[in-house]
Amino acid sequence: MAEPTTILAVDEGPLPRVPVGEWVDTAIDWLKDNFDPFFDAVKTGTETSVEGVTDGLLALPPLLFAAILAALALVVRSAVFAVGSLLGLLLIQSMELWEPAMQTLALVLVATLVAIVIAIPVGIAAAKSSRVSAVVRPVLDLMQTMPAFVYLIPAVTFFSIGLVPGVITTIIFALPPGVRLTELGIRQVDRETVEAGHAFGSSPWQILRGIELPLARPTIMAGVNQVIMLALSMAVIAGLIGAPGLGQVVVTSISRLNIGLGFEAGLSVVILAIFLDRLTSSFGERRREGGLRSRLVRRRTAPAAGTPVVAAEDTVPASRPTAGAGI
């Protein structure tokens, strides 16, 4: 029988103590000893990409960048959304929180991208195979319900404090809805339509790309939207372990009991969240009559001058607007 390993183990119960905690510690140590070069590479890669994106976001004059985002809002959604976005972004600037806001945005963008690149293929695999689904589901449950602070600690052991563990924990926390909604979306595609694909002799890849992904697109985009929202909420928690951005401002304001600063940082998070949510949910709802944006997409993807407009919806793999915007 193992010795009690924590001060909480007051009493030995009727069951033998299963040393889960020790196993985890051992595993973490082993990983750290044997995979150090790997973690270094991840660390460097993450730092470079997030800092690169942050620099990119801060390269433009804040006013100009806010105007560009507002224009994007106009194209994707509506004038009301554009005006609201512009006012919100200007408010962040006037509160002098623009730089941390852009740091947070960069972190969210990178974490979201990585999460989606993992989540969509896993979701497809889970939709295709009940066995994969059965394995993936408890893992997702664990990722979503394990208190975030618990994996902040090992992340810090691997990557020390700062930006990188923040990104990693954000990815872990934000990934599950991407997988779940991709699986759901593909499973919900009308059976007869998939059957039609088979009946005309499509290969599994043609069915996935030409039928299942386009038809599952609204659901998958809802998943992407959820990934972004969760990433944003986690990015703030990541401030606790030194990830730069609005989270750090929040942590500072808590330690100084500065209510005003804390509220300003919180409000900035809300503004970013609403902007990102409305923006990404519009992608999922895109419909054919969908005005300016779809016309822009068509023009952008038209293969050559002189091709009629219908031809813009061609099925050349890389230039499909559906596939391009969906993933």
Binding site: E192, A196, S203, Q206, V310
Partner: protein, 409 residues
């Protein structure tokens, strides 16, 4: 060469399907198998579909007809038995070879259309060719041609959800036609449409079929539809094929109680045609004496004669009563027929004229020669499902030809 051949086909879902097939072969009933936890959907079905025919498989839901049609193009793998499309044994193919057969030999139309909502109508119609790797220009041209064939010119750039149900199913039909496969599977293709549109689609299908001569396997639960469309009908019950024959032969001779109960709802007036119920007629020339005509009438045992002029053109009909009461020659006794119809005229179209006049309806062949008479009694008898004067209302085309010969001799 049959277009499509099914031999000893079984499809059992659930546990231990192979054992279930063995037990079914040994004579176990479907209920026995169900009790053991497996579901037999298709039980020992064998059939052959000839090139160019519309073969209707009809049955209630759960009778196994949808499962059967899905084994024909390999969407479902049968538990036992084989399916041949032409020379290709579908059941022995897999992967790439099976996809090739589906791309070129056999296409399908679905109950709920199964169109791709994110593509335009013409792109949907071109789907089969796209899968096959046909270049864009060629496949769109073929798709536009197929759309014109089903009457959807000018709709090419719309999205499926901008079209009505009937039009959407026409896109589904165009998609299947554009693939140029000779075998067309239609799975309850018109069942989701409202009755008027359904009639329209049935007419269009018959018209297209007259032009294109595809081999069509049509699944339906609607016996009227089966009777309207089918050259032959297979009736399925509980996974088994219980009756196979032409619409007329099934109506005339249901075979068992189950089929008979189905037939109760059939609109017989649209299944039977004038040719099925007519009595072969004797023809007399207009210038013979009433006595000669009466003699011909007696010899024939008929109630009326057709009267023609010197060139063989129809003048009218005379009944025995007319001849007896006539003072002069036959010409004075002759009266116009209730109507002149061709052998393919449906009974539905005979009802009004046959009811409106005491004279019989005259059936004429393509050259305008009278070949038979239909009186209102025969029409009523056929509608009631019993044969008039002991003659079965249905006859094969061959039978009818014999009768024609006899009437001329």
């Amino acid at each position: 060469m049959t277009a499509l051949r099914v031999d000893g086909l079984f499809k059992v879902f659930g546990r231990h399907p192979d054992q279930a097939v063995d037990r079914l072969r040994a004579g176990a009933s479907a209920d026995d198998i169900r009790a053991s936890g497996a579901t037999p959907a298709v039980i020992d079905v064998s059939l052959a579909v000839e090139p160019g025919e519309i073969f209707v498989v009809m049955g209630l839901s759960g009778s196994g007809k949808s499962t059967l049609i899905r084994t024909l193009n390999g969407l479902l793998e049968p538990t036992a038995g084989t399916v041949h499309v032409g020379d290709d044994e579908i059941t022995a193919l897999s992967g790439k070879r099976l996809r090739e057969v589906r791309q070129r030999r056999i296409s399908m139309v679905f109950q709920h259309f199964a169109l791709l909502p994110h593509r335009s109508v013409v792109e949907n119609a071109a789907y089969a060719l796209e899968v096959r790797g046909v270049d864009r220009r060629t496949r769109l041209a073929a798709a536009n041609e197929a759309l014109a064939l089903v009457g959807l010119e000018g709709q090419a750039d719309k999205r499926p959800d901008q079209l009505s149900g009937g039009m959407q199913q026409r896109v589904g039909l165009a998609r299947a036609l554009a693939s140029e496969a000779d075998v067309l599977l239609m799975d309850e293709a018109f069942s989701a449409l409202d009755p008027l549109i359904r009639r329209e689609m049935q007419d269009q299908l018959l018209e297209l079929q007259a032009r294109l001569g595809k081999t069509i396997v049509f699944i339906t639960h609607d016996l009227n539809e089966a009777m309207r469309l089918g050259d032959r009908i297979a009736i399925m019950r509980d996974g088994r094929l219980v009756r196979l024959g032409t619409p007329e032969s099934i109506l005339a001779n249901p075979g068992d109680e189950y089929v008979e109960r189905f037939l109760a709802d059939v609109d017989r007036s649209r299944v039977f045609s004038a040719g099925d119920v007519m009595v072969p007629t004797s023809t007399v020339s207009v210038d013979v004496t009433p006595e000669t005509a009466l003699a011909a009438l007696r010899e024939r045992g008929a109630s009326a004669l057709t009267v023609v002029d010197g060139e063989g053109h129809l003048v009218g009909v005379v009944t025995g009563a007319d001849l007896l009461s006539s003072s002069g020659d036959v010409a004075a006794a002759v009266r116009p027929p209730a109507a002149r119809v061709t052998p393919s005229t449906s009974l539905a179209d005979l009802l009004a004229p046959a009811g409106a006049s005491e004279a019989p309806v005259v059936v004429v062949d393509e050259s305008g020669r009278p070949c038979g008479l239909v009186d209102s009694r025969a029409v009523l008898a056929a509608l009631a499902g019993s044969a008039s004067d002991g003659r079965p209302p249905a006859g094969s085309v061959g039978d009818r030809a014999d009768q024609l010969e006899g009437s001329r001799g």
